[in-house]
């Protein structure tokens, strides 16, 4: 499964479910400006764990949440390797 397309699909799905205006998903988009709130991100992470089989934030207690959309995808691509 393509990590990038799955992440994009989940961002769009959750934004639609939660009635949020999603900013265009470019790699330099700051997640804080994406239009999703922290509950949305929690849902995205849970769904990605189901579909990709990884949760990169649960493997290391000290992991810092990514700042940009590109960082976010990088986290999953790295974890899925």
């Amino acid at each position: 499964m393509n990590v990038r397309s799955e992440v994009i699909a989940q961002f769009k799905q959750v934004a639609q479910e939660q009635d949020k205006d999603l900013a265009p998903l470019k790699d330099d988009l700051a997640l804080i400006d994406s239009g999703l709130d922290s509950l949305c991100f929690a849902v995205v992470v849970a769904r990605l764990e189901n579909s990709l089989g990884v949760d990169p934030f649960s493997t290391d207690e000290d992991v810092r949440f990514p700042v940009t959309f590109g960082d976010f995808i990088g986290f999953y691509e790295h974890a899925a390797q």
Binding site: L39, A42, S58, F65
Partner: protein
Amino acid sequence: MPRNNSTTLASSIAAAGAPSSRLLVGSDAHATWEELAAGSILNCPPDELAGSCVLLATISQFAAAAVLIQLDGLARRIVLYPPDLSREHLDFVAAITEADLIVSDQPPAESANMRAVRVTPSPKASHLERSNKDVQCETEWILLTSGTTGRPKMVQHTLSSLTAAIEPGYDPARVWSTFYDIRRYGGLQIFLRALITGTPLVLKSSTETASEYLASAAIHGVTHILGTPSHWRRALASPAASLIAPQYVRLSGEIADQAILNNLCKQYPQATIAHAFASTEAGVAFVVEDGLMGLPANALTHTSGVEMKVDRGTLRVRSNRTAMRYMGADSRPLKDAEGYVDTGDALESRNGRYYFAGRLDGVINVGGLKVHPEEVEAVINRHPEVSMSLVSSRKSPIMGAIVIADVVLRTPSIDNGKVASTLQQDILHFCRGELAPHKVPATINFVPSLDLAGSGKMVRRHA
């Protein structure tokens, strides 16, 4: 009506005034109540057990019933060991309850420290009768409930507290049955009710499936039948549900949501669908028969014989039906200084009615906001394709925890591919219309079945 302390179970059978043909039906044996009062299934004279502390650990429910009738008022203490509880706790329970002997239908040497008394298959052939059916000591009845540490908690009752909610009086039109085992509070209530009123009782074997049990209940013409909402959700998923035509269906042990009340009403239009609150510690508190979830506010203040209040969000109960204490040196008090038992069940008031929100110890904390899994399950269960559901928490790096749901569908075959995905979306959409965003499950996972504990309640993993 409170019972007289000088009656024993055996003498209650004679006092019931019912025809002598009324049966106790187990999966392995059956006998009339009179036969059970007269004969013994112990392989030693019951009088030898006078004053003893007895660990009653048969697998057979029928055997346990027969032994209870023989030993009430004779033994100092009877410990009811449920058949589904791991036998690894036998020595621990025996030590705390100071058991002198174990009554068992299993191979010997289960517990090397105690005398073992065996049971015979039937009381009918026995010549080993109890010489005196009157009270020789007021027996302590010890019920086991699941503890948070994995070890059971031991709760002390007397026959008086266990029977305080039971109105004597024989009704020839009744045949009782229950999904519960009689070694647990809910089942024991029905066993005692049937015995005291001289009414037939059909027992469910722990090895019977819901379908097999319902077929057996149908053969014996069961009219009054009890179980947890989870028992009933499973039963209604079986074609065997249509084999019985009960007059009275009662749910207890878990929150009865509106979906299960409606579905039972639809399946059994001729029956009264009631739900009750009872627990091993608090006893029977109240019964609701108006077909709606929750309870009318006046049920809290005007239930005869039971005082109830909501304190710090949970239901507190004081009555002569509550247990006396927990056994064990390090156990906490069972009642507060005023004699109230804290049930740990959160009760909320809305529009003149009280609703159970869930167990206080089961609350999920989503970014500081509380979620009762039972509230979310009640919404999911209203979806027409859903049979039952279990809501739990998953650790979240962002919110601390999030809500997830395991769902059993009414038609398992649609649990595949695109249909499943559409259905997940539909259930989530339904939840979003009914629940605050943090209560909506992040994921819906379709599962073939959900585990029930020996108590008939869904197995919950507390985070």
